[in-house]
Symmetry: C2
Subunit: 357 residues, 2 copies
């Protein structure tokens, strides 16, 4: 790894109690360029611009995929990644589906650790605080031809992240728009999937909702995901979530929730979730909770479901009654080194890994 430390750290200007998530970047970034069929040196360099022309294939033909993950700092200042090998596997799954070169475990994991280590002082401490990390791969070749690119960049950038507290939201069950096609790229974390979701979400917001529950594009009879999260439904004391497929992103939080629920002895059914079943359960009072899960906010609880012009209210459960709240706490305690880690999910970021890589 080639390391070029910044000479102008912006850290003295960073106020961990007052910053804007997503727009505040840590001092460094990792970059690695692909050309002539292979990846070059991994470089840890000051965060900053790289020259590209508007003919860059990444913005013309959308060969671009990313990951979203976090580093957590415990009360002693130890820093942890959470299941980073899952993000490594997934970025390569996305890359493959978009005909992009896969990255090596070394590039991904050593790059991550080196970046988090060198900028560990940027990681805010305290409940819900973390460093949000964005590995991505995008086509950099400059060419006006709709074909697989020959040049790519792998990069890792990061921004400090605030408390993941999020208000309960109202969601609209989609009956027209969709995020994924059969035989499409829904299970890839493809850049284009997100752009496609913004307009339908804006329309839902105009109708008084905050998010969309995506349903299958052919019939709109089955739940797929919610916003940029996987979705869970609780009917009586059983939790349901759709199986992953080529249309559903295989979320790390989803998988962790399933395992944590099973550990608590909660019954989890991984099977298609029919809109009809959920609506019926709401009508007959057996629908207890519906929520979304993802790395960014861990859990977003839904207070109402919009369906065919009706707004169906969900019960307000206390933190003791709510499976969503309980599992969220199980997960965040584990991530923040406040509980045991029977699964081996935490990965310590050693100090000065730079000296050893």
């Amino acid at each position: 790894m080639i390391i070029q430390k910044t000479e102008n750290s912006r850290l003295p200007d960073f106020d961990p109690n007052n910053f804007s998530f997503g727009n505040t970047f840590i001092d460094h970034m990792v970059i690695c360029e692909y050309e002539n069929g292979k990846w070059g040196d991994v470089k840890l360099v000051p965060y900053g611009p790289i020259p590209f022309t508007p003919a860059m294939m990444g913005v013309n033909y959308g060969q671009a995929c990313f990951e979203g993950m976090k580093a957590y700092k415990d009360k002693d200042g130890q820093v942890f990644l959470f299941r980073p090998e899952k993000n490594f596997e997934r970025i390569n799954k996305s890359a493959k589906r978009l005909a992009m070169p896969e990255v090596t475990e070394e590039m991904f994991l050593d790059g991550l650790k080196a970046l988090v280590d060198i900028d560990r002082n940027w990681i805010p401490q305290g409940e819900g605080m973390s460093l949000y990390i964005r590995p991505l791969i995008f086509a950099t070749e400059e060419a006006l031809k709709a074909r697989v690119a020959n040049k790519y960049m792998f990069a890792i950038v990061a921004t400090p992240a605030k408390s993941y507290y999020s208000e309960p939201v109202s969601v609209k069950i989609s009956d027209h728009y969709s995020r994924a096609a059969n035989g499409g790229v829904g299970s890839a974390k493809a850049a284009g999937n997100y752009a496609a979701s913004f307009y339908p979400t804006q329309l839902a917001i105009e109708e008084g909702y905050e998010q969309i529950i995506w349903t299958d594009d052919a019939t709109h009879e089955y739940f797929e995901e919610s916003g940029t999260m996987n979705v869970f439904v609780r009917i009586n004391d059983t939790i349901y979530t759709p199986p992953t497929s080529e249309k559903i992103l295989d979320g790390v939080t989803r998988d962790s929730f399933i395992q944590l629920a099973k550990k608590r002895g909660i019954e989890v059914k991984i099977e298609p979730v029919a809109v009809k079943t959920v609506i019926e359960a709401q009508k007959n009072g057996t629908l207890k909770e519906v929520w979304g899960v993802g790395t960014a906010v861990v859990t977003t609880v839904f207070q109402a479901l919009g369906y065919q012009g009706e707004k169906l209210e969900l019960p307000k459960l206390s933190d003791e009654e709510s499976f969503a709240a309980m599992l969220k706490k199980d997960l965040t305690d584990l991530q923040n080194n406040l509980s045991e880690d029977p699964f081996g999910w935490r990965v310590v970021v050693e100090k000065d890994v730079l000296e050893t890589v």
Copy 2:
């Protein structure tokens, strides 16, 4: 418009008889930046790099759409655009679907004309030669949050284009992969649609085909498009093409072919094209031609259709017998000012429009 002419024209090094399409860029480009809810000045500047970090939202969340169009030079050196208002309408349709700001007619059409005018000496002359022009809009804001961006760039770049001659190809009728979902972004020229098509196309190539005929994602029973082209089928002496929809790009070449066919008195049916109908016609000998149309190569004729493991051959028609060849000639003659233009499709690019805009 702010004009900054290059002081180092690369034109003396450009050999119109020996250049690489798509990688050779003309001296200038148009750029215009969107910020604080509005577009800034349109600038005509030397083609070259602009600094972006890997946090650029265009490559993270795929808010990026483009157009593909051409300028043609006739034997007297006059330069024409072809139906540019169609591309203007379409880029705004794409922008809207991706929750991006629409561009003004002035930015788009005056920008195009100024660019083509200033670099008119780059446009190769002769049969099939042209300047391929790429207007695009992409999100430039740097932020790690899956939301609508606040900063964008509109740009126009261009590359000289060679003869559009293309060999007949074999195409696979897709029975698994798809390019568009119901309620998705298939009718937008969204960057992400192209990345999504590369891997399925690679698989088809491994099976001995050159392209894919995309079918509807739910049943694979209906033709949608072929590669990055709209598709036409001729059974006996009637031409069929699927109606445009939210899954099918409203191609300028498609529309022009329909009008040119009608002008010739050929029967054109714009209706769903069932795979079954096409296969049956092939078996009973009434299937005469299947071809794709688009700006880049105008027409690609298919010599065989792959369906469920079978390779179904198509008749080899002479240029006199082929509707595809006849309509292609009608279109290219019109584009190159070799024939009348009863439709008013040609738009002259005046010399020194720069002085007047």
